[in-house]
Subunit: 430 residues, 2 copies
């Protein structure tokens, strides 16, 4: 992963996550990741993530520490109705403002509770309080959001400096829903007018260092674009980040570099941005008016389920067979029992027979078959990781591939599924 | 989620995660979660998570902030070989010690590189440096780990205080591998001799508030056990935390409360700790010497895949049918086309026919069938979320259940799968 390009004069921000469950190790802080990615899109440099318990002195201490170091603090959590929810109190303490009842917010909360047949209790009413002078946003769940300005001494050469604190609910969907309406207008007000956009290129079939060696030299011609790589379990992501006046402008400035990357990587590119492997396979099949079926041993239905998870899959996925046990390879896929014994349950011949059965038993254009030793124990003297995948096509042919896949049981299932789906993608695209 | 019980005199700790990719929003900090859960097991209170970029002044600043507030800082990341890896430099800066070449570590690194046919470069050699006086642990990957003591002024009443800083690689498996050998002995040395153990009870079939109302009163009789709840997509977790001299002792002290909770929740308990729904179903089937097969429409193979993911599934999972398209319900499951039109593809009758087909086509003892409108569009005027699941049993009978499931496509698939597997679990256990 490449280092961020330092941006002179860019707004500096921190994410402060409030909740004892984070510090107890019961919950992972995905809000910090999400908020950081959104701030980066707007050209804001995030320099700290900090998580604190539901303890008001620790929350105040954290706000003071961050206020001395950044221009913007995005707080997630601590806005709920219980006595553990202390973000309102901490904001009052650091600004020196009293908490006051906001009657407009009380009414908003009352209406929301009434809609689900519940009365406004004294507990719920806590959420209607805000420090005097705070900016308030009506709830998307039941918690209003807040924004206040802190004044801190300038660290260099004296002079006071203002720090914006935006407090959002910790529930991820509420936080996400508030971003565009409550946070983005404030970012623009604070001077974050530029927009940064990251375009993700999904690559399968090459290692990270191989992809990097091919792509890095291309970027010399595109100094305005920042390059980074991310190795996932089933793919390599090439990430191209460009800046502009708005999203369309940032995208346009990234396009020449993207074109060069796509040309270089060719058929190893699965898709761009939301077009991951499954989505691309469904789209390519839809475009051809063709359908697919699977016959899965080691993956036990996971390949069909991955296609079924894509909205619109019903137009292209007929179904499949989970031929997990030896007996099911006979009963469901109709493989001859003697052939099975001769070839082995994990073998090229059995995998081809599965792919052909998937196609013929359903009338699909394409049939996918897979077998593997997923572990933890060897099968028929074959080591864990032995994997076969086959694709039977509309021309009546069938190709079979074999590879050793390293990793645990879940990794073998994921990588084998990706290999099989990627084979279909290449044949549909080629 | 309940608040942590404050522990007087307990060791206070912080987790400091180093890496610009965290602040860019490219990577979520799962190390902080993992380390916090491990520290909690040892009775250590984690009061801060802090993440910083690969910038040495920010890293030094963060170490100083945390050292004033805790007794132990666990640093993850920044020990790699590149110029972005600055944890060594920051530790030298805060302790005031010079970095020195540790020849023993240089040799460890040289040997590890030689094993994969690579020479020791000047870049790799950076990893063999440590502040003078630091405790060093040989690499499990290529990065040695470090521990140093900082001296800070006491915040109350003066007097110097010592803070241990333990720096580990950021790669999760390396960090995990070093825990027992490098970190735990230091925790004991620092006085964290107690052990805290959390027992997780997996519950399906009741809401969180219902579970809480049943369980909370029971805990009055067990003041030594701390209770918390966690609502997951497919289950509620009841978490019981007890302390003791060692793991066995902590477990023994939690047992009376666990027994009461299990008695109260009865058949709604899926299992304890690693015994989640899929594992429990596989274990119960194995115990009876029985086998299962599926015929899945909306879940498209996901139920079979969930069972197939459990090691040992091959003894109990025969296989299944993915009867996704209408035509596959006829061709694979053998449902009469006229019956299908009459009943509707998403209906009790079709779901029962699928469950029966799963059983009879494979010779399994149990057959699971599911149909649903997973979204985003309605089917046959049925709203998104309409869901049926059926279980055909060894006695020739078949029961069918129906429910509306709220949530997006992935949520419907997950919850429907859990409902079907939980029905089988109850029949096997009952």
């Amino acid at each position: 992963v490449s280092a961020p390009v330092p941006q002179v004069g860019a707004l500096r921000a921190a994410v402060l996550s409030v909740g004892s469950e984070l510090l107890l190790g019961d919950l992972t802080d995905t809000n910090a990741t999400w908020v950081s990615a959104r701030l980066r899109e707007r050209g804001v440099s995030v320099v700290h993530h900090l998580a604190v318990r539901d303890v008001v002195v620790e929350l105040v201490d954290a706000l003071r520490f961050l206020a001395e170091r950044v221009d913007l603090i995005v707080v997630g959590g601590g806005l709920g109705p219980t006595s553990d929810d202390l973000t309102r109190d901490a904001l009052a303490a650091v600004t020196g403002a009293e908490l006051e009842l906001r009657e407009d917010m009380e009414e908003e909360i009352r209406l929301r509770l009434a809609a689900v047949g519940r009365p406004l209790t004294r507990t719920n009413r806590r959420q209607a309080f805000a420090p005097v002078g705070a900016r308030v946003h009506p709830p998307v769940g039941t918690a209003p959001s807040l924004a206040v300005d802190l004044t801190v001494d300038g660290t260099v050469g004296g002079g006071a400096r203002s720090v914006r604190v935006i407090a959002l609910p910790g529930v991820p969907w509420e936080l996400h829903a508030l971003w565009d309406t409550f946070v983005v207008p404030q970012l623009i007000e604070l001077g974050a007018t530029g927009v940064t956009r990251t375009t993700v290129v999904h690559v399968i079939g090459r290692g990270e260092s191989d992809v990097a060696a091919s792509v890095e030299p291309l970027l010399d011609a595109h100094p305005e674009v920042t390059l980074s790589f991310l190795a996932k379990k089933h793919e390599i992501q090439v990430r191209l980040t460009g800046s502009g006046r708005d999203d369309a402008d940032a995208r346009a400035r990234t396009l020449p570099a993207l074109a060069d990357v796509l040309a270089e990587l060719g058929a190893d590119v699965v898709g761009v941005d939301q077009d991951d492997l499954e989505t691309t396979v469904v789209r390519l099949l839809t475009g051809r008016g063709q359908r697919v079926a699977t016959a899965e041993s080691a993956t036990a239905g996971a390949i069909a389920a991955r296609l079924g998870a894509v909205p619109g899959a019903s137009a292209v996925l007929l179904g499949g067979l989970v031929a997990y046990d030896v007996s099911a390879k006979v009963s469901l896929a109709g493989i001859d029992a003697d052939d099975l014994v001769r070839a082995g349950t994990v073998s090229a011949a059995t995998t081809e027979a599965l792919a052909r059965a998937a196609r013929t038993r359903t009338g699909a254009d394409w049939g996918i078959g897979v077998t593997a030793v997923a572990g933890p124990s060897p099968v028929d003297d074959l080591p864990v990781g032995t994997a076969f995948w086959a694709l039977a096509g509309p021309d009546g042919g069938c190709e079979v591939h074999e590879r050793m896949i390293t990793g645990d049981r879940a990794t073998v299932v994921t990588r084998l599924g990706s290999a099989a789906l990627d084979l279909l993608r290449r044949r549909l695209a080629g």
